[in-house]
Symmetry: C2
Subunit: 228 residues, 2 copies
């Protein structure tokens, strides 16, 4: 499945890739994955890895978008995270993936053997520190998700939009890679509630929704107020 993971002897270029966004995961540790790894294409809805599979590899989104999720016993799906270009995912502490990962859109993913990174980290203390840092960043992200899930529907949707706008760093315009169902499963709501809430935000002039996947934040401070 994976080939060519020869480890090159350290000293990795910082932000060597054109799509690395400064200030957002544009760190050496993240770049290593792309630098050392193989870029693989995944089709829309293709599985990248499954829950409980051995976590052999680390991944970084080169283009497109990815969701990680769990299917609960009652059949509901909880999305743990959306990963956009530049984001590292599939990073586990144990030796199995605790979530599944799927391509939301056609995408290109840099893949690298975990063992290769570990090998570098053993020699390069700085790389090891950065691995720990990635885990810490992920921890803070999940803590935010907990806070999100105790808010009202309006707050959740508003927070989600602000988060996406922030991550895309494309100003007030947000291109959503994911469906309403994906958003609902991320926010712990139903698709209907997400849709209604967006409609309501549009009515109150906080946002514009020219097409369902394209949202313009008109009144960011109003959203922030909802954001609680």
């Amino acid at each position: 499945m994976l080939t060519s993971t020869a480890v090159r002897p350290v000293s990795f270029p910082r932000n060597a890739q054109p799509h690395s966004k400064p200030g957002h995961n544009g760190h050496a540790a993240a770049d290593i994955i792309e630098f050392m790894g193989t870029v693989m294409p995944f089709a829309r809805n293709a599985e990248i890895y499954g829950e409980n599979e051995p976590a052999d590899c680390l991944y970084k989104v080169v283009s497109g978008a990815v969701r990680t999720y769990k299917v609960l016993v009652d059949g509901r799906r909880q999305i743990g995270a959306f990963h956009l270009p530049g984001d590292v995912f599939g990073f586990e502490t144990g030796d199995e993936h605790t979530f599944s990962a799927e391509a939301i859109t056609d995408c290109k993913i840099a893949v690298v053997k975990r063992s290769a990174v570990t090998a570098v980290a053993a020699r390069d203390n700085e790389v090891a520190r950065q691995m720990w840092e990635i885990t810490g960043r992920e921890l803070r992200r999940v803590q935010e998700h907990v806070l999100l899930l105790v808010k009202s529907a309006q707050e959740r949707v508003a927070t989600f939009l602000l988060e996406m706008a922030n991550r895309a760093a494309s100003g007030a315009a947000v291109e959503l890679a994911m469906s309403r169902q994906d958003i609902a499963d991320y926010l712990g709501l139903t698709i209907e509630t997400v849709s209604r809430t967006l409609s309501h935000l549009e009515k109150t002039a906080a946002i514009e929704v020219p097409t369902s996947r394209h949202i313009v934040l008109r009144n960011q401070s109003a959203l922030n107020r909802l954001n609680s």
Copy 2:
């Protein structure tokens, strides 16, 4: 505030402390904190540290119980975790605490300067690895919390009881250190819903509640079924 954090030259005893529970945080990295640190007493409801304070220290519960929490802008309080004897907390990736910590009961907390641990970790690769492992364990715990918060009230309470029973490792009997309000704020429910749910579980013979802080799990498999 803190004294005596002299760093001793590695080689820490494993599970040297009598209250270290095997299989639950009974790792060398956790023991270091107690070994190197100062044990301090905190009174019930005393603040151990506040959100946004510099994260200078690491903590380990020696006896008693601790809650970490955030107060949201609307005044609600979300509890992020309960920490029981043996648990490490206050472990941050950034340099400020992202939650506040309070003593639930009178308790004894081992405190150690973060810089002291960092110094050891720089020399002892194994200690560094264990620091990363603690972060990873915490990450998985918070991910579980996310899954908890999308369940029904019954499922949340059942999951909580099973979690507590499991952590206390005292068989089917659970001594709750925390109030109904604490539980509610951890589960994202109201105190009334928690109380009613417990009453309902008692009526259906899944549990017994001889006193409000003492709960006996009578039908663990029934709880597990709710647990989803």
